[in-house]
């Protein structure tokens, strides 16, 4: 079982994404993204169970919420 991290542009957009996903019953949490994975330092993302990742991405895009490339992460 693994999680994915969906990088977000800001803490605010991460909160927005988290609430959007949660309103559809999906389990996500806002986490700090390892700065080594970004070019610009501190950032936030959504931790999503792998089975829900595609749904969460779809939801973000439907709401017009920007996100980065998914990062795989062993739980």
């Amino acid at each position: 079982m693994s999680d994915y991290i969906i990088p977000m542009r800001s803490r605010t957009e991460a909160e927005l994404g988290s609430r959007t996903a949660k309103s559809h019953g999906l389990r996500v949490s806002v986490v700090s993204v390892d700065p080594s994975l970004t070019k610009s330092g501190c950032s936030y993302g959504l931790r999503v169970p792998s089975k829900d990742a595609a749904d969460v991405i779809r939801m973000l895009e439907a709401r017009g919420i920007n996100h980065g490339e998914m990062i795989g992460r062993a739980r």
Binding site: R9, S10, T12, E15, V30, S32, C42, S43
Partner: protein, 378 residues
């Protein structure tokens, strides 16, 4: 405190609703992490509270949560908006009721040769006011500023109609809602507002130390303050997205919690109910002083703000007389020289009464009685 009559609500509302006090306490007790800085449980709680407040404010003022920026107050919000949206060489139009919170940033830009500044008349007729704005707009770079509700009188500018003019000219529209938020419905989209500036501690019944700058989706700001934003730490520049672009440094969490609770309090009662109640109190005051020849009311007086002077007695003396009887009013210029020029009180300033939902008819009657006594004694 029971004998105090607080009529300085245009400066800061007092008392605060119980829900605001509880929200502030809860924020300090349970959420005292740094919002947007880390994802441990306490920081996360703080971030969630901040986002909840963005959503509450966005819903109240017709905006999106991510376009709600927290500032140290409405003055900062106005500075961010005026200095961040005005392009070099542009014309700024400001109304003749403006508070120094908007007027001085404009003067600063004009004196430094960054922009040009013209003052338009907010006339007795809304039609004329709108035409005054329309006549002066040069092009899409013009920035129009409107004081939605004066802080010296109850003058209200036709924001929706001015917004329509700005939208059709493609120019930016900044609204100082320091006195109107919580009293008059405002909808960022319907009113075509680019930047809406609101304090926590007035009509939203929050505590001091925070304000809101709520922006249209397409608003692009130059920064006025730079610093840590919690994201993009390795970049030299502030993030290019709202709200983080304009939120350098740690946010004032207790004050933000108070905005949420205060805005919910206002929404639960309704702005029209609040303003209707305040108008009834204003009428009661006006009826009470109507036969006192020495008292002169200046400008519009049907809403939450009434300015007056007493012949032969300075505003400061009137304020002192009332303060001696436990009645709190504001005297002087109320940081609004343009408004006093407009109202003809530039020489003396005025005594200002600012009403809130917590004032009572009895308080108005006791104030009228104190003024009656003053007129008969001095």
């Amino acid at each position: 405190m029971n004998n105090i009559i607080y009529l300085d609500n245009a400066a800061t509302t007092n008392p605060k609703p119980g829900c605001v006090l509880r929200a502030v306490e809860k924020a300090i007790l349970h959420c005292s992490g740094n919002p947007g800085r880390g994802s441990h449980p306490i920081a996360a709680r703080a971030s969630e509270l901040v986002f909840d407040t963005r959503e509450t404010a966005a819903a109240m003022f017709g905006a999106s949560a991510e376009n709600v920026v927290f500032t140290p107050g409405a003055t900062y919000a106005l500075n961010y908006a005026i200095k961040g949206l005005s392009k070099a060489g542009c014309l700024i139009l400001i109304d003749n009721y403006a508070h120094n919170a908007s007027y001085r940033p404009c003067l600063s830009l004009a004196k430094n040769g960054v922009c040009r500044l013209k003052v338009y008349d907010a006339s007795a007729s809304d039609e004329e006011t709108v035409n005054n704005v329309r006549r002066l707009i040069e092009d899409e770079n013009t920035v129009v500023i409107a004081t939605h509700h004066s802080n010296v009188s109850s003058k209200i500018l036709p924001v929706r109609r001015i917004g329509e003019v700005c939208a059709s000219a493609g120019c930016k529209f900044i609204v100082d809602a320091a006195q109107s938020a919580g009293h008059i419905p405002i909808d960022l989209q319907k009113d075509n507002i680019t930047a809406l500036c609101i304090p926590s501690h007035k009509g939203l019944y929050g505590i001091s130390g925070a304000g809101l700058l709520i922006s249209a989706r397409d608003a692009r700001y130059r920064t006025t303050i730079e610093g840590g934003a919690g994201i993009s730490s390795l970049d030299e520049d502030m993030p290019d997205i709202l709200p983080e672009r304009l939120e350098a440094g740690t946010l004032p969490l207790p004050a933000i919690a108070s905005i949420k609770a205060g805005a919910e309090f206002v929404s639960s009662i309704g702005t029209s109910t609040i303003s209707g109640y305040e108008s009834r109190l204003a009428r009661r005051f006006m009826n009470g002083i109507s036969k006192k020849d020495r008292i002169r009311v200046h400008g519009d007086c049907g809403g939450s703000v009434i300015s007056f002077t007493v012949d032969g007695i300075t505003p400061a003396e009137v304020g002192e007389w009332l303060a001696d009887r436990g009645i709190c009013v504001r005297t002087g210029y109320h940081c609004a020289p343009l408004a006093h020029r407009t109202l003809g009180t530039y020489a003396s300033g005025s005594v200002r009464i600012g009403l809130s939902y917590f004032n009572t008819s009895d308080e108005i009657d006791r104030t009228v009685y104190a003024l009656d006594l003053l007129c008969r004694t001095k």
